[in-house]
Assembly symmetry: C2
């Protein structure tokens, strides 16, 4: 027998990716950029409102049985599900964010998943923004920089829950050799960066940079990482070094290239 | 009017200290050394078996109402209550250790408590003890040292819960100006250090050093601290620098001064 068609062997099989919290804002940005690139299984407690790629599982992240079933045949998990409100009360983040994330890591290990990208948050380190440092740290000339090696310093109980999720990831990596990347997501907005909000401009994440960053979380090889998920903003006080070095993240956007809601085609130096 | 008896003003009033998990091993060591020094309110889910100083509250740490009541008139809280088993299942540490600790911090802030000393654990950083580093790191000649600025790296879900408690402490300090010290307790044994167990000898904490350390947590002034709770062991891989500098901790014991279960009066150099 002569093999005359090698295409099925040379063409890379699309990876199966489970996206929890798919209907949220981060999920929307990811699917906006990557819907055709992977075999998607989307999970959300709310049913889809429009056309979605792949399969859709309607389930709450605290439903262990449903989460375990959703892991079957999955290569990579992007775990976004949880209560996204910075002002969420303790009981909600304890259940949805801390317990929910443990459920995801445990199920991922049991199912033989290779990688989990966990949506952490800038709120896990929000209290580094002390009165003494702000607003100067939000400005381009200031060189204060967090790089992901600092201890958590949450600005709310939501941030506490995200830091706990990062620590769970560390444990599941160390114990079970699961690749885990925690992405401390900044201020994600569609279109232009936040207006008249220096902090938001400093940690802006554009939709296309968001999709690209999670694409790199699916593709890259890593052990355990904490990275910052922001665009390449002049105003940034989060280092992009680990995201660039480990994930090959190459952001295209910068909040400084906008004036109000207008894109400035020739950015100022 | 002439003040002729200044004694009530110069003699320091004993501080009121709430000790949660009072019936456990750490509580026993603390009360063994400090029972006469403070106005104690002891809280445990198990009623006392012997004579105890002060008041005793029988309550579970997850009983928010009981914890809030127990905070009344308290200056300092030593929070030990929780599931102490390194192999404890997730649901237990989620409820007893993570949720229980949030209940304690929240109630402490509401009651106007000044300081909380939180019993964290060596298990919060147990996975720094990698195959490559052990057993060398347990030996006196090895200079590997954790100092409390490193990110958590738990060796079990119990350790994850202790790291989450530390992060809660950071939050309650930053937001409410509560003084918080997290003590990563090593291997506490009464009498002599563990025999034929290098790791235990490296992180040994004697009963008298334990009582003295928590005495310093009651007395010293601090903002937010993570310290290691061990004796001054030759084998140590945990730094005592922050405990010495911030708390004025001055440990008297060293596991190297024992040979088997015998105290060596003239320690080897």
């Amino acid at each position: 027998m002569v093999l005359i068609d090698a295409a099925p062997h040379t063409e890379r099989m699309a990876q199966s990716v489970l996206l929890t919290g798919a209907a949220g804002r981060v999920g929307t940005a990811i699917l906006g950029g990557l819907s055709d690139d992977y075999e998607w299984r989307l999970l959300d407690r709310d049913p889809p409102t429009g056309d979605q790629p792949g399969e859709f599982v309607v389930a709450d992240i605290t439903d262990g049985e449903a989460v375990r079933e959703a892991m079957e045949g999955i290569d990579v998990v992007i775990h976004l599900a949880g209560d996204p409100r910075p002002e969420a009360p303790w009981n909600s983040v304890l259940t949805n964010n801390i317990d929910g994330t443990q459920t995801v890591f445990e199920a991922a290990v049991d199912a033989g998943v290779e990688k989990v990208a966990f949506a952490s948050s800038n709120h896990a380190v929000g209290n580094y923004e002390t009165e003494e440092r702000t607003p100067e740290m939000y400005r381009a000339h200031d060189d204060y920089l967090l790089d992901g090696t600092e201890l958590p310093r949450p600005s709310n109980l939501y941030g506490v829950s995200k830091a706990a999720g990062e620590t769970l990831g560390r444990y599941y990596h160390d114990e079970y050799d699961l690749s885990v990347v925690c992405v401390r997501i900044g201020n994600l907005t569609e279109g232009h960066p936040p207006i008249d909000y220096e902090r938001g401009q400093a940690m802006w994440l554009s939709y296309r940079d968001c999709a690209h960053l999670f694409d790199r979380c699916i593709q890259a090889d890593y052990d355990y990482e904490i990275v910052y998920g922001i665009s390449d903003n002049d105003r940034k006080y989060y280092s992009l070094e680990r995201a660039r070095d480990v994930l090959d993240y190459d952001p295209q956007d910068n909040s400084a290239h906008y004036d109000g809601d207008e894109r400035v085609l020739e950015p100022d130096a």
